[in-house]
Every structure is written in structure tokens, then in C-alpha cells.
């Protein structure tokens, strides 16, 4: 395991990613303690450009709200939605994939048809429809993102399980009389885990993008300040006040970038062979 971390730390992208993410998490946890005022409150006159008034380094928006405070509170929503919806997607995708891959047959086929169906449906459009129908709230957003993002997990896990199932050590476990649950939990899943971890880190990134896109379209939780909402709100006044859209966008960009970098770093650390070989 120490070798894993050494490979990870030697990857500059991975280190940058981890640094940004740790920073973002710190902001999400401690930021609101430093900025106790609600991000919805009007603190100054509207359209204050950045770096003009001390205490409001990123300026104010069309309603005189502090842009920096919005970004700090938005970090909570983005990271939380990203994390929770990914967890939920994993909770559905891993069992579905594992069962379909391990038992195969009619049940496996049915499960995969079901998965394929959800993968064919355009995910963002489905998320829009779901949130619109369930009414925008943090719960419906998490639910919608989880529903559109579990199929790749199921497919990946199924593929891994299918190939691991024929591996000789799994056959050896069957032959020694192990139970199905032992074989799935002890022999197969631990060996299928690394690609799932990589995928999960990328899924958090995608979830953050999805959440911000939904909020941008006005489907965010009306009680929570989020980055996508801020960009959406600044959109109509972009000609007068560029900063209202610029800064929250950069926040989204950085966190998604960080997660992608971590995903790549993990991938390289799990598959070191890809990098060593020359031509």
C-alpha cells in the first residue's frame, strides 16, 4: 500500500488535485464559520466590482449579495451533492453489477437490459425531468443525479466480475466449498475495487457538473446558495457585471478539475505498468 501512495505522490497532477480538493473541503466545512452572514443577505449596494471595497474582494451581485460568501456556501452544496449522489449511485450500481456478473443467466440479462435502458436515456434530460417533476430540492437533485449515474457503475462492476469469475483463484474458492457471499465479498469485489474507485472519483466530478447545470437552469434547491445558481443569476447582467458569473464558474472548474486529476492519479497508481514502458 505504501508503494501505492508513493506512486500517487509522484504524480504531479494527483498532488495538485488532492491539494485543491482538501482546500475545497476545508472551505466547505470551515468557511461558513468565518462568514456567518447568510449568503442571501444584501451587504452592500449591487454591482460592486471586485477588489474595490475592502471586505468584499469578489464584489457584489445584482442584489448586493457578497459573491465570495456565495462561493463559500456553494462549496458545501457542490461537494455534498457530488459525494452523496455518488455514494447512492455506487450503492445501486455495485450490487446490480455484481449480481448480474456473478449469477449471469436470465436474472443477469434482465438486470443488464434494465441498466442499458437507463444508459440509453439521455442523462441530463432525464435529470431535468425528474427534478422538475419532484420539485427542486436537495433531495430530488441528489436522487436525480444518482438515478442517471449508476448505470456506468453497474456496467463496470459487471464486466470486472465477469472476468474475475472465470479467474482460477475464484474457481479455486468454489472448489474448496466457499459460499457465494464469501466468493463475492472476499475473492471478487476486493479485486474489482480499483477501477470502481477511479470511476467514483470521476463520478463526483460529473455530479458536481450536473448539479451546477441543474441549478443554472433554475432547478436548484431554492434555499441553498450554489455555484450554478450564481452563474445563472449573473447571466442576465453579464454585460454589466462579468464577475458575478466568472468567479463561481472558476470554483466549479477547479473542483471538477481536482477530482479528475485525482481520478487519473489513482488510475496511474493502480496500473503502474502503463507508465513505465517505453516504445
Amino acid at each position: 500500500m505504501s508503494k501505492f501512495w508513493r506512486t500517487m505522490l509522484r504524480n504531479p497532477g494527483g498532488v495538485i488535485g488532492v491539494t485543491i480538493l482538501v482546500l475545497a473541503i476545508a472551505i466547505a466545512i470551515f468557511g461558513p464559520l468565518l462568514f456567518p452572514t447568510s449568503p442571501w443577505r444584501m451587504v452592500q449596494r449591487p454591482f460592486l466590482p471586485p477588489f474595490t471595497v475592502p471586505g468584499l474582494p469578489l464584489g457584489t451581485d445584482a442584489l448586493g449579495r457578497d459573491v465570495l460568501a456565495g462561493i463559500i456556501y456553494g462549496a458545501r452544496v457542490s461537494l455534498l451533492v457530488g459525494l452523496v449522489s455518488t455514494m447512492a449511485a455506487l450503492a445501486v450500481g455495485i450490487p446490480v453489477g455484481a449480481l448480474a456478473g456473478y449469477f449471469g443467466g436470465k436474472v443477469g440479462d434482465a438486470l443488464m437490459r434494465f441498466t442499458e435502458f437507463f444508459q440509453t436515456v439521455p442523462s441530463f434530460a432525464l435529470a431535468i425531468v425528474l427534478v422538475a417533476i419532484l420539485q427542486p430540492s436537495i433531495v430530488s437533485i441528489v436522487l436525480a443525479i444518482a438515478i442517471v449515474s449508476w448505470p456506468p457503475v453497474a456496467r463496470l462492476v459487471r464486466g470486472e466480475v465477469l472476468s474475475l469469475r472465470t479467474r482460477e483463484y475464484v474457481q479455486a474458492a468454489i472448489v474448496t466449498g466457499q459460499s457465494h457471499s464469501w466468493i463475492i465479498w472476499r475473492e471478487i469485489l476486493p479485486n474489482a475495487l480499483s477501477p470502481v474507485i477511479v470511476l467514483a472519483s470521476l463520478m463526483v466530478a460529473t455530479a458536481i457538473l450536473l448539479e451546477s447545470s441543474l441549478s443554472f437552469l433554475g432547478l436548484g434547491d431554492p434555499n441553498l446558495m450554489s455555484w450554478g445558481y450564481m452563474v445563472g443569476a449573473g447571466r442576465t447582467v453579464i454585460r454589466q457585471a462579468w464577475w458575478i458569473t466568472l468567479f463561481p464558474g472558476i470554483a466549479i472548474l477547479l473542483s471538477v478539475l481536482a477530482l479528475n486529476l485525482i481520478g487519473e492519479g489513482l488510475n496511474d497508481a493502480f496500473n503502474p505498468r502503463l507508465h513505465k514502458e517505453g516504445r
Binding site: 479467474r167 482460477e168 483463484y169 475464484v170 474457481q171 479455486a172 474458492a173 468454489i174 472448489v175 474448496t176 466449498g177 466457499q178 459460499s179 464469501w182 472476499r186 475473492e187 476486493p190 479485486n191 514502458e277 517505453g278 516504445r279
Partner: protein
């Protein structure tokens, strides 16, 4: 040695990148290639023999440093050749045939186009002529229906046919030197015999110098004029084939030769009036694939009315080429796959009719040793757990099971410290020993060994075979031994069943099968086994 060499390799030193298990891939080797002669480079895995092949074509990876030496060809030192120099040389003067023809051919290009590329690369002929030449070459290497094969994609040909196509490609520009890097290792024994014959024949007709790389002394004895024996990147012995075979000088060569199993079955004690340990009656298994709405069904019959029994303390061999169904039978006997029909009885228990808990309990009576030592151990579990997991699942107290695992490690010749280590810390042979310990941990009556020594180097193979034989005798086990290698089967089996296309075509005591084979397929198999010289030597 009348003709002068076309290529002289002198004191070649190739350095591995730092952090490898040894500093040099190839450490100061020298040998010559002579027109019209076949030089066999023999060695076990990691001996550096493939590096020689790659060096001759300038295909060494960037990470390998050419530290010293010379490859003299046509008044030039190939080690100092630049890229353009190599382009003119490769294919035209020096050609190569690789081990695995499936991966060595581009899956998206037709065979004919891949051969035509050979001419295109050197700006020879018109596109039309190239096509014709390709067809002609496929004729020459004996591909059936060359007109169709020339338009086929690699996946549409069999392994042997693909290798013939590779050879046709290599010969296209009539090179002076042909490098063959384990060209028959991936093939079945009868196909191997044909390909060896083909290479031999073409080499004579075209007076080529051939460098033939192999790990198999049987193959060496069939086609070599001269032999170079490599160990850890160094030449330990070289000379005329006869000298190396009959008067080996270096202890490593002697050991390698001694490790090649003989075709002469040793005498075995009769096993009459013993009870049956396993009885297999009328096993049928057909694989059906495809068969959707618009797809034709594909059926492969893996087992056709397979009948045999194994007496207590007996070893029965199941011999056949790839696709003969021998591995399917092993898996049917183990209940890793379900038969369409038929029965497997272990003693008095009908092993095919039980399920669930009862099946899991009875499984301890019959255990399996697998082929691939790198795939048969869970990379994320410690060796101690791998061995003790089975008994614990059957209710043994964990402490007792671990104690027993330690003893078993001793029994298979490993140190007790192995308990706390992970599989990747062991060599192939050691892993296979761990696999044997795992199988023995459940104190089975029967062991099924599926190509258990096929992936091992020949010296390690001999050790593992001895261990198996010894344990079997000591513990009074019965064994089903699946192999494609008749030599190995001759050494370890009491009786042998020959399989072809899912059916047993002949089942006889080993000595009788070798001395008086009845079925034509058995005769064909026996005739194809390489290395008549070494077998007569051992006799």
C-alpha cells in the same frame, strides 16, 4: 561449418534499466548465423533469448541500453545503424516470425494486404503484383484455399494458419536471415510439427540463415544444426546440435536435458482389484452461444458421452489438443460447470445430483490444481489465508487450520514464513506449490490437475511433477491429470485417455498406449511430439 557467417554477434551487452532484477538482459554473448543452417537459441524464461531476436531487428525497447559489442552484417555494425538504415534492412534482409500469431497480425487488415505491405514498405512491385505475390506466398506456405485466405481477416483463420501467414509475410522479400521467436509455442503439437517442417523446408530451399528461439529441447532436437544455450543472459554452451545433445559440457545444459520428460513410460505397479474413486458415466456438454433474434446459433460439443473411472491411488491422464474438451471434462468432474447429461460418482456419492450445502460439503473430497500459477492465487490474500480458508469454511478451528497450513507449506517444500506473504512475492514454481498445498488442505481423496505444470519452465516442471508423484503416493490420492504434453503424461499416468473433439477416442494403460496406439489420432499425436533424438537418448 564451411560457409562463412552472414551475421556475427560479438560480445553483445545489453543493459536493463536500473531497478530490474539483474543489470544485463544479455551479458557478453557471441554467436554466428550461417546461411542454410538453423541456430537454436535455447533458454528458460528470462534468459534473454528474446532480446537477441529484438536486437537483430533493431526492435529493442528504448529503455534497453546497448552497452557493448557488435552485430556485424554485411560489413556494418547493426548496433550503430540509424533509423533509415534499419528501414532498408528490416523485412528485406532480416525478417521475423513472432510467437503469438493472433496478436502479431493487425486485426483490422486482410491477410493479403498485410503481406502486400511488405513490398510496399520497400517500394517494390505495383499494387496488383503485390496482391498476386501474396497469393503465391500463401500457396507456398501451404495455406488451404489461398484465394480465400488472402481476403480473410486474422480472426477468421486458425492458429496454425495464422502462423503460416506470418511466415509467408516474413519470406516475402526473400530475406537472408529469418528470426523465429518461439514460433510454435502457442500452437498445438500436431500443428507445431507441421510448422517446424515448413520452416525447415523453406530454409533449405532458400538457403536462409535461421535463428530459432525456443525453450523446448524437443523442438531443438528436431530442427537445430547448431545450439546456443542461454542462462541469465550468458551463453553457457554452444556447439553443433549433436555435440550439445550427446556430450553436453555445462551442468546447466545437462540439467535442462535431464528435465525433459522421456517418451518412455516408466514401469508402474499394477493397480488391479482396487475400489473406484471416481466414476464418470456418459458426460455430455454442449456450449451454445449466440442465438438471438437474427443470429445463428453456434454449438460446440465439449463433451460427448465421456466415460472413464479412476481407481484409488491411480493417476488417469486426459490428453488432447486445445479445444479437445479435456479442460471442460475436468470442470465437469469438479462441478464447476453443469453437464447436460451424465453422472460423476465419487465413491458411492452421486456428485452430480447434490446441491447447495451438501455439494459444498462434498467438494472437500475432490480438489483441483490449476494451470496458471499467476492467476490461481488471489493477489489480495496472504498465502496462509489462501491455504487455511478452505478448511475454515468446512468448520475447522482457524488456529488448527493455520497450524495445518504451516505444515502443508513444509510438505510442498516452502518455508513457514510464506504464511504471512502475498502471492506476488513468489515465483511461478513456488506459487504452483502453494496451489498444491491449498488443494491438499482439505484432505481430498481425489486431485484434478488441469495442465498443472504447463506454464512452468522445464526444470521447475520436473520438480513439481516429482512433488505431485511423491505426495500422491504418500497420501494415497487418486488423480485426474489433464495435459497437452504426452511426455509429461507418460511420466506420471497409470492410464491415459486421448480426447478429440469432446470424445475419448482411446483409453489404455500408459505403456500400452505408447507402444501400441490403435486410434489414428493417437498415432498422429505421438508422431508429432518433437524431439525423437532426446527420447532415444533417454532410452
Amino acid at each position: 561449418m564451411s560457409a562463412s557467417p552472414v551475421v556475427s554477434i560479438k560480445n553483445l551487452k545489453l543493459a536493463l534499466p536500473s531497478g530490474s532484477d539483474r543489470p544485463y538482459a544479455v551479458d557478453g554473448i557471441s554467436f554466428d548465423l550461417v546461411p542454410g543452417k538453423i541456430l537454436c537459441v535455447v533458454g528458460e524464461s528470462g534468459s534473454g533469448k528474446s532480446m537477441c531476436a529484438h536486437a537483430l531487428l533493431g526492435l529493442l525497447p528504448d529503455t534497453i541500453i546497448r552497452e557493448a559489442g557488435e552485430i556485424a552484417y554485411d560489413g556494418r555494425n547493426l548496433l550503430t545503424l540509424d533509423d533509415t538504415g534499419w528501414l532498408a534492412l528490416r523485412g528485406r534482409h532480416i525478417a521475423i516470425v513472432f510467437q503469438e500469431p493472433m496478436t502479431a497480425l493487425n486485426p483490422l487488415m486482410r491477410i493479403g494486404d498485410q503481406i502486400a505491405e511488405m513490398f510496399e514498405a520497400h517500394n517494390l512491385l505495383t499494387p496488383r503484383q503485390r496482391k498476386q505475390k501474396a497469393l503465391q506466398l500463401l500457396h507456398e506456405v501451404g495455406l488451404p484455399e489461398p484465394e480465400r485466405s488472402v481476403r480473410a481477416y486474422p480472426h477468421q483463420l486458425s492458429g496454425g494458419q495464422r502462423q503460416r501467414a506470418m511466415i509467408a509475410m516474413a519470406l516475402a522479400l526473400e530475406p537472408t536471415i529469418l528470426v523465429a521467436d518461439e514460433p510454435t509455442t502457442a500452437l498445438d503439437v500436431t500443428t507445431q510439427a507441421q510448422i517446424l517442417e515448413l520452416i525447415r523446408d523453406l530454409q533449405r530451399r532458400r538457403n536462409m540463415a535461421v535463428m530459432f528461439i525456443t525453450h523446448d529441447f524437443g523442438v531443438v532436437s528436431d530442427i537445430a544444426d547448431r545450439v546456443v544455450v542461454l542462462q541469465h543472459g550468458k551463453v553457457v554452451e554452444q556447439g553443433a546440435a549433436d555435440d550439445v545433445f550427446w556430450r553436453p559440457q555445462h551442468p546447466y545444459t545437462c540439467a535442462l536435458l535431464a528435465a525433459v520428460p522421456s517418451m518412455q513410460p516408466p514401469p508402474r505397479a499394477p493397480l488391479a482389484d482396487r475400489a473406484r474413486a471416481v466414476e464418470v458415466v456418459g458426460l455430455d456438454k454442449t456450449y451454445v452461444s449466440g442465438g438471438g433474434w437474427f443470429q445463428p446459433e453456434r454449438r460446440v460439443q465439449a463433451a460427448k458421452q465421456v466415460n472413464f473411472d479412476i481407481l484409488q491411488g491411480e493417476t488417469v491422464g486426459l490428453v488432447g489438443e486445445s479445444g479437445s474438451g479435456k479442460s471442460s471434462v475436468a470442470r465437469l468432474v469438479m462441478r464447476l460447470i453443469e453437464p447436460d447429461q451424465g453422472t460423476v460418482r465419487l465413491g458411492d456419492t452421486d456428485f452430480t445430483r447434490i446441491a447447495g450445502k451438501a455439494l459444498r460439503r462434498e467438494r472437500s473430497r475432490i480438489q483441483m490444481i490449476f494451470q496458471d500459477p499467476f492467476a490461481s492465487l488471489n493477489p489480495r490474500r496472504k498465502v496462509g489465508n489462501i491455504i487455511a480458508d478452505g478448511p475454515i469454511a468446512h468448520g475447522t478451528d482457524p488456529a488448527v487450520a493455520r497450524q495445518r497450513a504451516t505444515e502443508l507449506l513444509g510438505l510442498v517444500g516452502l518455508n513457514a514464513s510464506a504464511m504471512e506473504r502475498y502471492p506476488h512475492e513468489f515465483s511461478g514454481g513456488q506459487r504452483q506449490r502453494i496451489g498444491i498445498a491449498r488443494a491438499l488442505a482439505l484432505e481430498p481423496e481425489i486431485i484434478v490437475a488441469d495442465e498443472a505444470v504447463s506454464a512452468l519452465d522445464v526444470s521447475v516442471q520436473a520438480q513439481v511433477l516429482n512433488l505431485l508423484e511423491d505426495l500422491k503416493a504418500r497420501l494415497g490420492l487418486s488423480m485426474l491429470f489433464i495435459t497437452h504434453d504426452l511426455r509429461v503424461a507418460a511420466q506420471i499416468c497409470d492410464r491415459i485417455a486421448v480426447m478429440q473433439r469432446g470424445a475419448i477416442v482411446e483409453l489404455k494403460p500408459t505403456a500400452a498406449l505408447f507402444s501400441a496406439p490403435e486410434h489414428p489420432y493417437t498415432r498422429e499425436l505421438l508422431a508429432a511430439v518433437p524431439g525423437k533424438i532426446s527420447s532415444s537418448r533417454a532410452a
